[in-house]
Symmetry: C2
Subunit: 110 residues, 2 copies
């Protein structure tokens, strides 16, 4: 089966701060309340998760995650209210674009 897929990225000054992997990381941080738990769900290292968060926070207009280093569970991480807003926007845009992509998948014959 041949299928078109679309990946949305949100950039500031040409640098991406939100993409499918990063939105998954944010969603998992919200769910588990810990960066360690989120990293495990994504099957990436804790260090990799930190790196992604630093990239996001540095590139975005405001931090998406507030970080609390250390603690028994490898540091707390909380999605900020700006992070919540942009995550919601991301999913709305993704849904809007994927309606078009879904229509293309019905129409095309690749």
């Amino acid at each position: 089966m041949i299928e078109v897929e679309c990946y949305i990225s949100i950039k500031r000054n040409g640098i991406s701060f939100l993409d499918p992997v990063k939105t998954r990381l944010l969603s998992e941080i919200k769910e588990s309340g810990s960066l360690n738990g989120a990293a495990k769900k994504l099957e990436i290292s804790y260090q990799h998760a930190w790196t992604m968060i630093n990239e996001m926070n540095n590139a975005a207009p405001e931090p998406l995650v507030s970080k609390q280093r250390g603690g028994a569970h490898g540091g707390g991480a909380v999605v900020t209210s700006y992070g919540e807003k942009i995550l919601k926007d991301y999913f709305a845009i993704n849904s809007q674009v994927n309606k078009v992509v879904g229509q293309i998948n019905v129409e095309i014959n690749l």
Copy 2:
């Protein structure tokens, strides 16, 4: 400036065989007529370019590139007629989806 971008991928049985980097590789092969030249334009190694072509050819319903190993210029590579067709389809889909994304960029206030 905050901007939404969209990356199109074409998959067969869940495995991507065409994405922005691979379409660039195909376009450069068409332009230069050599895999070596295309790899240089993309700033990737010759081996990396071969790997991408093998991935594409294996995942797609038909080969996108026909390969001629060896020769003075590091092997010839020719985009097949199927490769030409799917590349054209890719750009048409990309343009259609990006019209919607362009409209979103006008309307949103992230």
